[in-house]
Point group: C2
Chain length 401, copies 2
C-alpha cells in the first residue's frame, strides 16, 4: 500500500524536530552538549521515588488505586495538592480548576485541540517553544506573532495566544510585571484567550519573582472562573520527566471540556505516577527545586562568563534569571544553522540553530544555548570553540567583501 | 470571558461519555454492575509490579533511565519484546514496526490524527467502541459503516477503516477467518487502510484462536512493510490499566509518522511504566492472561446461564468466546436507554444503553452487558431483575396495543 498518499494534509508538513534528531546523534559521540535543554539526571530524586513507590505497594488499597484507571481529570489528592500549590503562588484555584496531563506538553496539545480547526489563526511569541509549534501544527493553523511589549497591539482574530512568561524556551527571557498586566488587559479587550506555559516558573534563581499572567488575571478578576487565561504546569523540571505529570489550570467550564479531550486522547494519566508525584511533591518539592536552581545558576554563570570572554564583537545574548536557556544573536550575515552544523561536525559542540523556533519568517542569525547539562568546564570549552569558529567565519565574511 | 463561543466547532459536539458519567454515579451507590467493562482489580499483579519497581530502583543506571524522558518511539527493550510478541502471534515485526503509546486508546487517537482532516470519512463497525468514536470525533469526520460480512462491499472513499476483530467492544463477537481474509482483500482492492484494535486478543477463553487481520495481512504480503493494516495492542487488560502501556504496530514508514505525532502530543510514554510493564510481561504475562481468562470464562458462563433463565421471548444475545462483553438485542419497540435508566434507578442494576455505540443511525433496542466485574451471584441477580423488568415492559406494551 502506498501509505504516503493517505495521510491527512498536515502530516506531510510535520517533520522530525531538529533537536530530537540531534539528540540521537549526540548519544553516539563524545559531544559537548550546549544544545538540548534536558534536566540534569543527577537531580532526579531516585531514592525518594523508590520509597514513595514502595509505600504505595505496601498498602493493598493504595496499590489497587495505583494500578486501576485514574479519573480522566486526574487523581483527586494530586489535583487537591496542585490547587493548593496554584493558590500558594497567587492564583486561588479549587480542584475543579485543575486537570492532570502527561507533562505540560500534553496540556499544550490539548489547548490546540480545544481551540483550533484547520485554517484558524494562533498567536505565538516569535521565537517560540518548538514542542508547542509541533503540537499546534497538527491542527493546521496559521501563525501570527504575539508581541510581549506592553505597548504593542495584539493580533485580532486569533483563536488564542500562547506565551511563556518565565524564562521561556528558547530565549530564557521573562516578561516584566508591566508586560504581563498589559497582556491581560489587551487580550481581554479583544476577547483573546491566553495559554500560559508555566513550566519554568519554579526555576527562578535570581531577581524578584513576578506573579504569573494567570495569577495576575485571577487577582484582577477576583475569581478564577472569570479569567481568560489557562495555565500549564509540570513536575518534569523539578521532580523527574518520566513521571509524565503536568497539569492545566483554568475556569472549570474550560477544564470540563479539556477532560473530554483527555478521555478521548488516552483516558487518563497513570494513577501510579500521579501518586508517586504527589508523595514526592509533598515532602521534597522545595528542596528539589532549590537543588536545581543552585546547579543551574552555577552553570548559567559559567556560560555567561565564557560568552563574555570568547564571543567576538557583534554577538549578543540574553541573561536569564531562571530556566535553562540563553539565546544568542549573531551578526546579521551569520546563519545559525551553518554555525551549529559546523560546530557539531568540526568541533564536537552541540548548539541549536534558532530558525526552527519560528513558525514563520525565521530569524536566521540566532542559536539557542542551554546550560542544563553542561558542567562549568564543558561550558567554558564549548563556548570557546564556538567563539573561535565564529571569529573565523566573520573573518572569511570580511575577506569576501 | 465567554469561553463557550471560543471553542473549535467540534467541541460543541463532544459530550461526556454516558459510561464514564454513569461510573461516577455508581461509585456512590451499592449497584450490581453489569455495565462498565473494567478489568477486575483482583487480577492486578501488585506484588510482581512492586518487585519489578524495586529492582529498577536498586540499580542506579536503570533508575536514571526510568526517570528520564524515554524516546518518543518507546523504551527500546520493550519495543523489542513487543516485536517478538507480535512475531509469536504470526505477524513478524522488527522494532521499527512498533511504537509505544499510553494504552491502545492513544494509539487509536493517533490514527485519527494521522488520517483525518475535518470532513473526511472514516469507516467503523456499527456498533463500535465508544472510545474510538470520541477520539475520531475530535477530528470532525463523517462516519460510514464498515461491514464485517465477507460478501459485503466496503465503502469507497473513506480515509481508513477501524475494526475490532476479536471480541470487540461492545458486541463481544469475533470475525471468522473467512471474514478477516475477505476484509484484507476488499480493503486492498480499494486502497483502504485498516486499523485493527487488538486489545482483547489475549482474552480468548474458548474456541479456536484466529490470527489477527494484521497477522494475516503480513502473511499474505510476506512482509510487514507492505501491509495496509495497523494493529493496536495493550497491556491494560492483562497486566494493569494504570501502567498506560499500549502500542501500535505497522509498516515502519507509518510508524515514523506516528512517532512525530507522539512527540507533538506528549513527547513520550513514562519510561518507568514501560520498564515495569516489560519486567512483568517477561516473567508473568501468560500466567496473568490465564488467570484473567479463567475468571472471565466463569463469569461469562454465569451471565449466559442467567440470560437463558430470565430473558423473556424475543430477546437475543451474543455468545462471546473471549473479551468482556455480551450484546443484547431487545424486542424492536423496547428502547435500551429507557431500560437501562429504569434498571439503574428502580433496581440498582447498571447496564449500558446500546445507542451510544453508533456514531450515526443508532439501533435503540440494544444494551451492552459486561461480566468483567460481576461475580456469578451478581450476574444471576442482576440479569434476573433485568428479565423481570423487561417482561413488565413487554406486558405494558402489549396492553397498550
Amino acid at each position: 500500500m502506498d501509505w504516503n498518499s493517505l495521510y491527512a494534509t498536515r502530516m506531510g508538513k510535520v517533520v522530525a524536530s531538529d533537536i530530537r534528531e540531534r539528540m540521537k546523534l549526540l548519544a553516539a559521540r563524545q559531544i559537548i552538549q550546549l544544545g538540548g535543554g534536558l534536566p540534569d539526571p543527577s537531580l532526579f530524586p531516585a531514592a525518594e521515588i523508590a520509597a514513595a513507590t514502595a509505600a504505595i505497594f505496601a498498602d493493598p488499597a493504595r496499590a489497587t488505586t495505583a494500578l486501576h484507571y485514574a479519573p480522566s481529570e486526574g487523581h483527586m489528592p494530586l489535583r487537591e495538592w496542585i490547587a493548593g500549590y496554584m493558590t500558594s503562588i497567587g492564583a486561588p484555584c479549587g480542584v475543579d480548576n485543575i486537570m492532570i496531563t502527561n507533562g505540560s506538553q500534553q496540556a499544550i496539545d490539548f489547548c490546540g485541540r480545544l481551540f483550533l480547526s484547520p485554517g484558524d489563526t494562533v498567536a505565538v511569541e516569535m521565537p517560540s517553544f518548538i514542542g508547542a509549534l509541533r503540537a499546534f501544527d497538527t491542527y493546521e493553523p496559521r501563525y501570527v506573532a504575539l508581541p510581549n511589549e506592553a505597548e504593542a497591539p495584539l493580533p485580532v482574530g486569533a483563536k488564542f495566544g500562547y506565551l511563556g512568561s518565565d524564562f521561556r524556551n528558547p530565549t530564557g527571557t521573562a516578561m516584566t510585571l508591566a508586560e504581563r498586566e498589559a497582556m491581560i488587559d489587551k487580550a481581554a479587550a479583544i476577547g483573546l484567550p491566553l495559554v500560559e506555559d508555566g513550566c519554568y516558573e519554579k526555576l527562578r534563581f535570581e531577581g524578584q519573582a513576578v506573579p504569573s499572567v494567570f495569577a495576575l488575571a485571577v487577582q484582577k478578576a477576583g475569581d478564577v472562573e472569570k479569567v481568560g487565561v489557562l495555565h500549564t504546569g509540570t513536575l518534569s523540571k523539578t521532580i523527574a520527566p518520566s513521571l509524565r505529570v503536568g497539569w492545566v489550570a483554568g475556569p472549570s467550564a474550560v477544564i470540563r471540556k479539556l477532560v473530554l479531550i483527555k478521555q478521548a486522547a488516552d483516558l487518563a494519566t497513570s494513577a501510579l505516577n500521579q501518586m508517586i508525584a504527589l508523595a514526592v511533591a509533598q515532602t521534597s518539592l522545595d528542596r528539589l527545586a532549590d537543588a536545581g536552581r543552585a546547579l543551574y545558576l552555577r552553570r548559567r554563570d559559567a556560560m555567561l562568563e565564557a560568552l563574555e570572554t570568547h564571543m567576538p564583537p557583534g554577538v549578543t545574548w540574553t541573561r536569564p534569571e531562571g530556566g535553562l536557556y540563553i539565546w544568542v544573536t549573531l551578526p546579521a550575515h551569520i546563519d545559525g544553522a551553518v554555525l551549529s552544523e559546523r560546530l557539531l561536525m568540526e568541533e564536537a559542540v552541540s548548539v541549536i540553530s534558532g530558525a526552527a523556533f519560528y513558525p514563520v519568517d525565521p530569524v536566521r542569525n540566532t542559536v539557542r544555548l542551554s546550560y542544563s547539562l553542561a558542567t562549568e568546564e564543558a561550558a567554558r570549552e564549548g563556548v570557546k570553540r564556538m567563539g573561535t569558529m565564529l571569529s573565523a567565519m566573520l573573518e572569511t565574511a570580511v575577506a569576501a567583501e
